[in-house]
């Protein structure tokens, strides 16, 4: 009897492990099969500028551009701000308060993105519109600012961990040499924490690329690369906002649908690559909850 139960138990463990291992392959496989029509029928024509389903034009470059630009700008805003704040929480702030600040930040990091979207529509897009005298505040810039705020807590708390994990002796030695605090931080703490910080930024990058709801509500959803190309105060489109708005409109198994899934697959591959690279940097690993 006991042997029988043991067998059942082992079976349960193996089956559940297989399930959780296979899911990711299943997702990749399903996306690949569904985007096969677009790859096969479209080929390089997918990488053009015009998206117009009725004319069978499925150029995804505007969406790629949007995703790239929105993510890069949000990182340009959030990374310096986040790293300086992390230096503050780990090096300057009294250690007694660090735990409270950190719990607060970790709570903020998990606020549902739809709520950021609501705040974006109700405040940010209106402010951006008034500030720059635009007709509409739904722009690439608005989306980038909103995203930078969304990833800020993640960056702060991961960088704070990275800096905090630098052993105390390095600081003491540097201090013993008569260095000022900023020199201690710049010359001995940050170089040691560097790989973890890079890992943190890569994770934030992945999160920003995959963010859907908040971006979708404030970006304006025009499938065009703005003119001139650096005009950030123009509406645009990211892969995620395109998917969120249009996937239900395209008929299942049409080329249109297939091209949408193809975009999703590109996004997935980029994000997965980022995740794996980030894991190589974050050797201390195991920080999954952000």
């Amino acid at each position: 009897m006991s042997a029988y139960i043991s067998k059942v138990g082992k079976g349960y463990i193996i089956i559940s492990t297989l399930i959780s291992m296979i899911i990711i392959l299943l997702i990749l496989g399903v996306l690949f099969l569904s985007s096969y029509d677009a790859i096969h029928g479209g080929g390089w024509r997918l990488f053009t500028l015009t998206w117009n389903p009725p004319n069978n034009q499925f150029g995804i470059l505007p969406m790629l551009y949007g995703s790239l630009v929105v993510t890069v700008i949000s990182l340009v805003i959030a990374v310096p701000l986040g790293i300086f704040t992390a230096i503050f929480t780990s090096e300057i702030l009294h250690p007694k308060y660090r735990i409270y600040v950190k719990s607060f930040l970790e709570l903020l990091a998990g606020i549902p993105s739809i709520i950021y979207g609501l705040i974006g529509v109700a405040f940010f897009s209106v402010w951006v519109g008034e500030l720059f005298h635009l007709q509409s505040g739904r722009t690439i810039f608005t989306a980038a600012v909103l995203l930078s705020i969304m990833i800020l807590p993640t960056i702060i708390t991961l960088c704070d961990d990275a800096i905090h994990h630098v052993p105390q002796k390095y600081r003491e030695v540097a201090k013993g040499l008569g260095l000022y605090k900023h020199e201690v931080i710049i010359t001995s703490v940050l170089p040691i924490a560097k790989t973890d910080i890079i890992g943190a930024v890569l994770l934030a990058l992945g999160r920003a690329l995959g963010e859907t709801m908040a971006v979708m509500l404030v970006i304006g959803s025009i499938d065009k690369i703005p003119t001139p190309i650096y005009n950030l105060l123009a509406p645009g489109q990211t892969i995620t906002s395109k998917l969120g708005r249009e996937i239900a409109e395209s008929a299942f198994s049409s080329i249109h649908f297939s091209a949408m899934v193809f975009m999703g697959m590109i996004l997935l591959i980029i994000v997965l690559a980022l995740t794996f690279i980030a894991q190589q940097f974050l050797k201390s690993g195991q920080r999954l909850y952000e």
């Binding site: 117009n52 389903p53 009725p54 004319n55 529509v121 897009s125 209106v126 519109g129 007709q135 509409s136 505040g137 739904r138 304006g220 959803s221 025009i222 499938d223 509406p235 708005r245 249009e246 239900a248 409109e249 395209s250 008929a251 299942f252 049409s254």
Partner: protein
């Protein structure tokens, strides 16, 4: 752990008994936001007399409604335009049957600031030029010196089909002059109200104090206001039927529900929502 297994069993039991106990029929509807208020209000009233029926209504747009019905994920599609030939060919197994439930106009709308500055009517040609990107400033049509924010809609939306067919001549025409692309009537209404120089397209029922309906100047010079009267007598050029679609002739509760919307009681809901009923 024991507690966990017991509670799983209880939940499973509850779900299974729940499924068997409530023999509630569920009717799923999805599609145009234009038709949605009518159907969802009608569903509320219908449920008062048919307590064993559950009707769920989802938004998404006419294109979504047709796709979901084509894939047989819903029982009733709500559309605010005609089904295109392409869509019929896409689903050879599905026999689309349409049921008109009312009439509506698609009205070119502008921000109240522009309306108050004197622009109350435009010709179809002027509107077309705005959406083609040839007219970019309100002063070119006699308004204040402000750039035009042309608000477009997602390609498969019924409102856009009907509007673009009249304005640009093709229901799926691209609008290179558009500055924003949005989805539902609510979302478009919000963007136009937030802006002070926007033009867009909305169902007649969504016009309010912040979002003003434009009159249309016909070729003979006559100015037609978007009033119910002009929609009823057919003078207003951009009108459409509000339709429900089913796969084959509806049966049972679905038929009863559609008949209810077509009945005088149901048509009152159509009128309350700001549309023209079948009897007018």
């Amino acid at each position: 752990m024991k507690i966990y297994y017991v509670s799983v069993l209880i939940l499973l039991f509850a779900i299974i008994t729940g499924c068997n106990a409530s023999k509630k029929e569920a009717i799923l509807c999805a599609g145009a936001t234009t038709v949605l208020p009518v159907v969802s209000n009608a569903a509320e009233q219908f449920k008062l007399t048919h307590q064993d029926v559950n009707i769920m209504v989802n938004a998404g747009g006419s294109g979504v409604g047709i796709n979901l019905l084509g894939e047989q994920n819903i029982q009733i599609g709500m559309i605010s335009r005609n089904i295109t030939q392409k869509e019929i060919e896409k689903y050879p197994d599905v026999h689309f049957v349409t049921h008109p439930i009312g009439k509506d106009a698609v009205v070119p709308v502008i921000s109240s600031e522009i309306y108050d500055a004197g622009i109350m009517a435009l010709t179809i040609e002027q509107i077309a030029k705005i959406y083609k990107g040839e007219i970019k400033n309100w002063k070119e049509v006699g308004g204040p010196d402000k750039e035009i924010l042309a608000v477009d809609k997602e390609m498969s939306r019924g409102t856009r089909h009907v509007f673009m067919k009249i304005v640009l001549g093709n229901e799926e025409a691209a609008a290179p002059g558009a500055d924003l692309v949005l989805g539902s009537n609510n979302e478009e209404q919000t963007a136009i109200a937030q802006s002070d120089a926007a033009i867009g397209m909305l169902s007649n029922a969504w016009i309010n104090g912040d979002v003003k309906g434009l009159s249309i100047i016909l070729a003979n010079g006559e100015v037609v206001e978007p009033t119910l009267e002009n929609i009823i007598n057919g003078k207003f050029p951009i009108t459409r039927n509000l339709l429900l679609i089913t796969n084959g002739e509806p049966q049972g509760e679905i038929k009863e529900f559609i008949d209810f919307i077509k009945s005088p009681g149901g048509q009152k809901i159509v009128e309350q929502a700001g549309y023209v009923s079948l009897y007018q």
